[in-house]
């Protein structure tokens, strides 16, 4: 059926994969690599629970043919986790209850990672805008915004 070999850079590791034509990055990450922090909520790019970073930029892995990101760096939560304990962003989400059921949380934290990389001192409006593509049905969003503001503040800068 015409499977193709591609390479991905996953958290600093080169990975070689055999993939079906037009397989999505989401299906490859979840089903072939077991990276289930990448969630499946809609497969329409509408919920954001599948968000990953491609060379540091957030994208919906459910809409991305994996072949289109061959050779590029893919970052999921697994690539950001530390064996030493929660990262500063994760600690902020713990401290400020930026989660309830947890299903949207990896996507939210991935976007947060990209946001603070681009803009270490986001305003509240900028945080809200960055999250526009990520749906949460539990928290009402305020605790998530508070977590991100706290993460930014804990990085040493004041949030305006």
């Amino acid at each position: 059926m015409g499977s193709v070999v591609i390479n991905l850079n996953l958290a600093g590791r080169e990975v070689e994969l055999l993939v079906k034509p037009l397989a999505t990055l989401q299906s490859v990450l979840r089903n072939q690599l077991g990276l289930t922090s990448v969630k499946e909520g809609c497969r329409q790019g509408g919920c954001g629970s599948c968000t990953v970073l491609i060379d540091g930029e957030p994208m919906m892995s459910c809409l991305l043919p994996v072949q289109d990101v061959a050779g590029r760096t893919v970052t999921t939560m697994e690539g950001l986790n530390s064996p030493e304990g929660p990262t500063p962003i994760q600690q902020a989400f713990l401290d400020h209850h930026g989660y309830q059921c947890g299903y949207c949380t990896p996507g939210m934290e991935i976007v947060t990672t990209a946001l603070l990389e681009h803009n270490p001192q986001p305003t509240r409006d900028q945080i809200v805008e960055a999250l526009a593509g990520n749906v949460c049905r539990c928290t009402g969003y305020q605790p998530i915004v508070a977590s991100i503001a706290a993460a930014a503040a804990s990085a040493g800068e004041e949030v305006r």
Binding site: M1, G2, V4, K20, P21, L22, T24, R43, Q44, G45, G46, G48, T51, I54, E57, P58, M59, M60, C62, L63, L64, P65, Q67, D68, V111, A114, V128, E129, A130, L131, A132, G133, N134
Partner: protein, 274 residues
């Protein structure tokens, strides 16, 4: 039917060659934000697919009086350029960050209503399209490209490669009115500049409000003229009812938003803050 081949041509001639080989069976994907949801849901079951991310269509070139935008330029990238503020503003109001990193300028022209916000601004700018095919290149106005709901004059062996817009068209005004503040389908989109009024989500594709434009051309951009133009725009649009809004609500919002956009334009023209 599973996908048998996913082609990733690395040049326009290669892409056109694939179109010639496979014909209408070949599904062309740009950013994938419209096609992939349909494929994921099993609504679209293509066997042959071509993706354009590697075809060299993502450049932005300035040449004198125009900006030529490659069809695969992403909305994020368009939002970062400052040469045509109308497009930067428009691009930033579509979807969310991740989708803007993937969705393309060219793809937006094929987006069915109520999508097509960027195409609406391009229409207001009187954009010109460059289309490449086996027989060479041709150019035509975006205004002449759409032939109906989800149909264009693109031939099966052709590819939209770039979109050109004039550089010196400020001031402009853009309003996207949706049911949420962000990441929302349009109730109505309005883009106005240089005497042109383009409307999105209120027709089978983005439309020019020509009667309203005639009103503008005849007088000064004062309150009375603006009101009359807004009335004309509301009368001449052709909105549909969908899950987002009814046709009567869309028509009412055309009246309101065209008036607001023209008022903003008038204020900018006078050099004041809106």
């Amino acid at each position: 039917m599973t996908v048998a081949n996913y082609f990733q041509p690395e040049s326009v001639p290669e892409a056109i060659g694939l179109l010639a080989d496979h014909g209408p069976e070949l599904l062309v994907i740009a950013g994938g934000t419209i096609a992939m949801p349909l494929i994921n849901e099993g609504i679209s079951l293509p066997s042959q697919v071509m993706g354009l991310r590697r075809a060299g269509l993502d450049g932005i070139n300035l040449d004198g009086y125009t900006m030529r935008i490659g069809a695969m330029v992403t909305l994020t990238r368009l939002g970062e350029q400052y040469h045509v503020p109308l497009l930067a503003t428009d691009a930033g109001r579509i979807a969310g960050w991740s989708i803007r990193n993937m969705a393309t300028v060219g793809g937006n022209i094929f987006a069915p209503p109520p999508a097509g916000d960027l195409a609406t601004a391009l229409l207001a700018l009187d954009a010109r399209l460059t289309i490449s095919g086996a027989h060479g290149e041709r150019e035509l106005a975006l205004a002449d490209f759409w032939t109906g709901f989800m149909t264009t004059s693109l031939e099966p062996d052709e590819l939209l490669t770039s979109i050109s817009v004039p550089l010196d068209v400020e001031p402009s005004a853009f309003i996207k009115f949706g049911r949420k503040q962000a990441n929302t389908p349009s109730v109505v989109t309005v883009a106005v500049t240089a005497g042109r009024i383009a409307l999105g989500a209120v027709g089978p594709h983005p439309i020019r409000a020509r009667q309203a434009e005639t009103v503008l051309a005849a007088g000064l951009l004062d309150r009375a003229t603006i009101a009359t133009a807004a009335d004309a725009a509301a009368a001449e649009c052709d909105p549909a009812t969908d899950a987002i809004a009814t046709d009567w609500y869309r028509r009412r919002m055309v009246r309101v938003m065209v008036e607001r956009a023209l008022t903003e334009l008038a204020a900018k023209s006078k050099g004041k803050e809106a």
